[in-house]
C-alpha cells in the first residue's frame, strides 16, 4: 500500500524548510562572525587570563561533534539550570558558538599575518590602538580571512542539517516528513540534497566574488 503521492503543496513545504535553514544559517553566521571577531580582538590584546580560556573553549568546540554539542545545549542545559529552551533557541546558540570557534581561528591568523613592523610604524606615526585596529589591521586581516571563512560557511551550511535531530523544522526535517509520507527515499533525499548543493554552490560563488573584490581593494586601495 502506498500512503500518498507528492502533492503541489510539498513545494511550499520544501520552501518553508529552506527558509528555516537559510534564516538560521544567516542568523548564526552573523552572531558567530561577530563573536569570533570579538574573541580574536580580545586574544590579540592579551587581556590577562582570557587567552587560555578562549583557546580551550574554541578547541573543544572545534574538536567535538556538533551533534553532541546540540544535545548538550538542548537536553543538558535545561535539565541542569532548570530553564526552558526551544529547539530553535538551542540550535541558534549551538551553531553560533560553533561558527564563532572556527571564525576565531581564521581571524586570529588573519591578525597574526600582519607584520609587527607595520603596527610599530603606525605607532610611530602616532595612531592610537583603535586607529591601528581599524586602518591597519582590519582591512588586511579581512582580505586574508575571507577565503577561509567562505570555506567554513559552506561547511556550516551543511552542519545546520543536524538541527533537524533536535526537532527544528528545517529542510532536512521536511525531507524526513516527506520520506515517511511518500516512502520514496530516492526522490526525496535527492531533491533535498540538490537544494543543499545549489545553496552551497551559490554561497561559494558569492563568496568568491566578494573575495576577489576585497583583494583588489587591498592591492590597489592605497595608490
Amino acid at each position: 500500500m502506498r500512503y500518498a503521492d507528492f502533492t503541489p503543496y510539498d513545494i511550499i513545504l520544501l520552501l518553508q524548510g529552506l527558509g528555516v535553514t537559510l534564516a538560521l544559517f544567516v542568523g548564526t553566521t552573523l552572531i558567530g562572525l561577530a563573536l569570533g571577531l570579538a574573541l580574536a580582538v580580545v586574544h590579540h590584546y592579551r587581556i590577562p587570563g582570557c587567552r587560555p580560556v578562549i583557546v580551550l573553549v574554541t578547541e573543544a568546540l572545534k574538536n567535538s561533534p556538533v551533534l553532541v554539542q546540540l544535545f548538550l545545549v538542548f537536553f543538558g542545559i535545561p535539565a541542569f539550570l532548570h530553564i526552558r529552551m526551544t529547539p530553535v533557541e538551542a540550535a541558534t546558540l549551538t551553531i553560533s558558538l560553533n561558527t564563532a570557534a572556527f571564525a576565531f581561528v581564521v581571524f586570529r591568523s588573519g591578525i597574526e599575518s600582519i607584520d609587527r613592523d607595520q603596527i610599530e610604524a603606525a605607532q610611530v606615526f602616532g595612531l592610537n590602538r583603535s586607529q591601528i585596529l581599524r586602518f591597519v589591521i582590519a582591512p588586511q586581516a579581512a582580505a586574508f580571512s575571507v577565503g577561509p571563512l567562505i570555506g567554513i560557511l559552506v561547511n556550516q551550511l551543511q552542519v545546520t542539517s543536524l538541527i533537524s535531530v533536535i526537532g527544528v523544522f528545517d529542510l532536512t526535517k521536511i525531507g524526513n516528513i516527506l520520506n515517511l509520507r511518500t516512502l520514496q527515499p530516492f526522490i526525496v533525499w535527492a531533491v533535498i540534497g540538490l537544494i543543499y548543493y545549489l545553496a552551497a554552490k551559490t554561497l561559494a560563488h558569492v563568496g568568491g566574488c566578494l573575495e576577489a573584490a576585497l583583494r583588489k581593494s587591498v592591492k590597489w586601495g592605497g595608490i
Partner: protein, 220 residues
C-alpha cells in the same frame, strides 16, 4: 565528582559504544582511502569523461550534508532490495563521503610530485603503472599525512551522526544513558570532553607521524 557518579554504572555500556565508534572510523578510513585513491587517479587522468565523473563525485559529496547522504542510503538501499544493517550503511556512507575529501588530499599530493622525477622514471624504462604505484603514490602519500589526518578526525566527529540511524556507537549509547539516568548535562558534557580528547590525541599522533615520515625531507 558528580560527573563520575553519573557515568560510572554505565561505563561498560559506553565502552561498547566507543568500540563501535572506533570500528566504524577504522573501516570508513580504509574505505575512504581506497575510494579516494581511485578517484584521485581518475581525476589526474587524461580522459575528459573519467575526469568529469570523478570531479562530479567529489563535488556532490562535499556539498551535500552528511545527514542527507546518510538518510539517502539508509532509506534508499532497502528500496533497491539491498538489506544491510544500519552499521554497514553508516560505514558505507562515511567511506563515500570521506573518499571525496581524501581524493582532494591525494590529488594535491600527486600535484606536488616533481615532473622531473617522473621523467627520470620514464627514462629508466618503468611502466606507467609502476611509475604511479611505486614513485608517485609514495611521495604523494608522504606529504598527505597531515591533511589525511584532518579527514580522519573529521570522520571521527562525523561518526556521531550515525546515532541518527539507530547505530549505537558512542553518541548513541550516551543518548540511552542520558535517557535512563535523567542526567543529560553530565552525560553529554563528559561525552563532549571525551570526543575532544580523542581528536586532540589523534592530531598529536598525526603530527608525530608526519614528522617521522618526512624526517629525510628537511634541508632539501
Amino acid at each position: 565528582m558528580r560527573f563520575w557518579r553519573v557515568i560510572e554504572p554505565h561505563l561498560g555500556f559506553l565502552l561498547q559504544g566507543f568500540a563501535l565508534t572506533i570500528a566504524a572510523c577504522l573501516l570508513a578510513i580504509v574505505g575512504a582511502v581506497l575510494l579516494g585513491a581511485v578517484t584521485a587517479s581518475m581525476r589526474s587522468s587524461g580522459n575528459t569523461w573519467v575526469r568529469g565523473a570523478a570531479n562530479a563525485y567529489g563535488d556532490v559529496f562535499r556539498n551535500v550534508p552528511f545527514l542527507v547522504q546518510l538518510f539517502f542510503f539508509f532509506y534508499g538501499l532497502p528500496e533497491l532490495g539491498i538489506y544491510i544493517g544500519a552499521f554497514e550503511t553508516g560505514v558505507i556512507a562515511m567511506s563515500i563521503a570521506g573518499g571525496a575529501f581524501v581524493s582532494d588530499v591525494i590529488l594535491s599530493g600527486i600535484m606536488t610530485v616533481d615532473t622531473g622525477v617522473i621523467d627520470a622514471a620514464k627514462v629508466s624504462g618503468l611502466s606507467r603503472f609502476k611509475i604511479f604505484t611505486r614513485i608517485v603514490l609514495p611521495i604523494a602519500l608522504r606529504v598527505s599525512v597531515r591533511p589525511m589526518g584532518s579527514v580522519l578526525i573529521n570522520l571521527v566527529l562525523t561518526s556521531s551522526i550515525l546515532s541518527t540511524i539507530t547505530v549505537n556507537e558512542l553518541t548513541g549509547t550516551a543518548k540511552i544513558v542520558a535517557a535512563t539516568t535523567f542526567k543529560p548535562f553530565e552525560v553529554y558534557a563528559v561525552l563532549l570532553v571525551l570526543y575532544a580528547s580523542l581528536t586532540t590525541l589523534l592530531s598529536f599522533v598525526i603530527s608525530a607521524t608526519h614528522h617521522r615520515l618526512n624526517r629525510f625531507m628537511t634541508g632539501g
